[in-house]
């Protein structure tokens, strides 16, 4: 093995392609680990409604609009605390105050929003503020869409307001408020809408804040899942997890296997035969069922599972192949020379025997990486993914268990699958090319 052999990679376009993708994936991993610290991500990912309440549920990424003839709406959010909100405060008689806020926005999408929810917070002693909502459509209709008093925290789901639904001819708010009254089949009226929120407070220090979310049907770069979570976070974090899992698994397994094979061959005798028998028994062990049992009975921690996988695969079938190579190598002149000048056993094994088979090791190691990456995904698809970390496999599992394939939410399955495929193929392509370079019998084939 020398530099020229590595330079030979440039002759294989598939290897270059694989290498570039691997570098991009490594770049993403480094960015993710630095920009989105692990502890924050775990808290955020499991944060529930508090973190994710402004996102729509199970919607595809925004860029899919580019391929659609009917554009889907994006989420529109108004906060009363935002700057530039028209806010009129008129003190009336006694402690009565009238607070009026107006939001104006353009609606240009070809489909209706997913739902409309308003989140209120207010401060008061005894008497709660009273809110009236008015909706103005682009064609000038003015609709009174709700009068209600609010609590200290209050969530108003417009779609569940039956009075409003009746008023809108049986359509839920997100459709009725946007529907074009002159069109035969339901379609949204494009143009400028106005939402006026008038609030009456009854105490001197009483006030309220409101957040109105008109949930769209597309979100971000990667879309959202059933818990409104941004899938981008999971896709990004899946990258370092998958790479670390694959690399650690493949490197530790290959190196330990190599060391075991070299030791057995060098010492020969009972050491060798014990190792051979263990290998044969190990081949009979149902690895995946055992992994699943460990996951079910003890812990689903990714790193514990990885440890068990490594333990179960170091006595793998590849020991036999290495053994055959070492048996030849053992008789080589330079090994005999080393022996005669009194080199120690460890020196011979680690300095002379193992380096000789590294050219064979490297390609098989690279090809092994995807199998570890997919093993993690497989376990996750069985519901045995790491309980804390978002990984690609876990997304596929959640998508499947929530019926993404039946409901046509393809993006949910395809995005993590695409990442898995990219990782798998890039390492496989590089590995196959390396195999052709390093394996003299395959040269030119």
């Amino acid at each position: 093995m020398n530099l020229n052999q590595f330079r030979e990679i440039t002759r294989y376009p598939s290897a270059i392609f694989g290498l570039v993708i691997i570098l991009i994936l490594v770049g993403i991993s480094i960015y993710t680990v630095i920009a989105l610290p692990y502890s924050e991500t775990v808290v955020k990912w499991r944060g529930g409604d508090m973190v994710w309440q402004d996102n729509p549920r199970t919607v595809p990424p925004t860029w899919t609009n580019f391929f659609r003839s009917k554009k889907l709406p994006e989420t529109i959010i108004f906060r009363s605390t935002d700057e530039g909100v028209e806010k009129q405060v008129t003190p009336l008689k006694d402690d009565l105050t009238d607070i009026q806020m107006t939001y104006t926005f353009d609606y240009t999408a070809d489909d209706f929003p997913q739902e409309i929810i308003m989140f209120f917070t207010s401060t008061f002693e005894k008497k709660a503020p009273y809110i009236s909502l008015t909706w103005t459509t682009p064609d000038g209709r003015e609709l009174d869409i709700g009068d209600f008093s609010i609590d200290k925290t209050y969530t108003r789901r417009m779609s569940q307001d039956e009075k409003l639904t009746r008023k809108l001819n049986g359509q839920p708010a997100e459709i009725g408020l946007f529907a074009d009254p002159n069109s035969e089949n339901l379609k949204p009226l494009k143009g400028t809408y106005t939402l006026t929120m008038a609030g009456l407070t009854f105490e001197p220090d009483s006030s309220f804040d409101a957040k109105t979310v008109i949930y769209g049907k597309v979100f971000g770069m990667a879309g959202t899942d059933h818990l409104r979570r941004d899938l981008m976070l999971a896709l990004l974090w899946g990258t370092p997890v998958a790479l670390a899992f694959g690399l650690i698994g493949a490197v530790v397994t290959s190196v330990l296997t190599l060391v075991i094979a070299a030791t057995g061959t060098w010492y020969g005798g009972w050491v060798d035969s014990v190792i051979q028998r263990i290998t044969e028994i190990n081949m009979m062990l149902p690895v995946l069922p055992i992994l699943i049992m460990v996951g079910v009975f003890y812990s689903r921690s990714l790193w514990l599972i990885l440890g068990v996988i490594i333990l179960l695969s170091i006595f793998g079938a590849s020991i036999k192949g290495y053994r055959a190579m070492f048996l030849q190598e053992k008789e080589a002149g330079y090994i005999q020379a080393a022996k005669s000048y009194g080199a120690s056993n460890t020196r011979i094994i680690f300095q002379y025997l193992i380096p000789r088979v590294v050219p064979v090791l490297i390609p098989s190691l690279v090809v092994l990486i995807p199998s570890f990456v997919f093993l993690e995904a497989s376990l996750a698809v069985l519901g045995l993914g790491d309980p804390l970390m978002p990984t690609w496999g876990k997304i596929i599992d959640e998508a499947r268990t929530n019926g993404a394939l039946y409901k046509g939410l393809y993006y949910w399955v395809l995005e993590p699958s695409f990442m898995l495929m990219l990782t798998g193929f890039s390492f496989a392509m590089l590995g196959f090319a390396l195999d052709r370079i390093f394996n003299p019998r395959l040269r030119g084939m």
Binding site: S14, E280, I281, M283, M284, L285, P286, V287, L288, P289, I290, I292, M293, V294, V296, F297, Y298, A317, V367, P370, S371, F374, A377, S378, V381, L382, G383, L384, I396, R400, L405, Y406, G408, Y410, V413, L414, S417, L420, M421, G424, F425, F427, A428, M429, G431, F432, R441, L442, M445
Partner: protein, 367 residues
Amino acid sequence: MTADVQQAVGRQAKIDTLKRIGKYTIVRFFMLFFAVAVGIYLTILIANMGGYVDEIRKAEIRENIAIQISMNPQYKKLSTEERKQLQEKLVALEEERLGLNKPFLIRSLAYLKDALTLNLGRAMNMTSDSGSRQVKLILLERLPATVLLFGTSFLLNFFVSLFFALMLSRRYGSFWDRFVVALAPTSAAPGWFYGIFLIVIFASWLRILPYGGMVDAPPPENPILYALSVAEHMILPLMALAISGIFLSMYSWRTFFLIYSSEDYVEMAKAKGLTERAIERRYILRPTLPYIVTSFALGVIVVWQGAIIFETVFNWPGIGRVYYQAIGLFDIPVIVGTTVLYAYLLAVTVFLLDIIYAFIDPRVKIG
């Protein structure tokens, strides 16, 4: 006279071969049995580390005794309190009889014996389709489905890829050859992964093939229609398994055959003017046969284990699906039982192939 001697020598050689294979078979049988025992013992150790196997047994005893007491008219008149006491007493007695109060080492050997004799106990929640709680029945009921799907797929993949590999090795460097080499990395992903894509395309998008399962619901009465329905349900799984395996095996066989066809004796055969087919059969396939069989065995082992996820994705009612359901329901006897069954399946596969190996490779030695 010379003919007689030749015949006798021939007969003697045949007897020798049979003896050799017989001895080899017996030795392999015991070695594999030992391997299975070790595998199962490991399974028991893992399962018992949390005390789960004990819990299974104790719960079973408790249930049996509770049923016995409630069925026995003799105990009808006892008060609830007395009945409870009686139950505790009987449970303690039974536990002592079964040795549950003995140290784990001795108990684990008893479990091993149970597992090896396929005495797998009763499931906690799951039942077989015929309503039985016996783990053995639950598993045996599902075995044919797994064997049907994976057997078909494996044989198909194996022989198709062997056939095409031979063709490619003849047309080395052609478009199709380079095509297969380029596609070989697709095998980095497992079958279930392609399964998801195929379901997206053919089931949810084009709606021409079923999402999963083994037959239509309700199953057709007519056996021919039934078979057709099963065949229809097998298309996607077979495709998924083919994509994930066939290109890599074609690629590696092709490379393997290329290496062998550059041997001197093949050149010699070519020089003699033998036909391509004769060369392939006698000089390329024959010497590589043992290697082909070995990789067949290794492939079967991998396929068996892949069944767990694969059947889950395709909702195929086989062993793997049972395993997945058992995980969901935390049905430990079924989980342990399936692991035991897997160990046996692997061993039986390897054993059968070992025997075939002994027949085709005269160099096979024992041990």
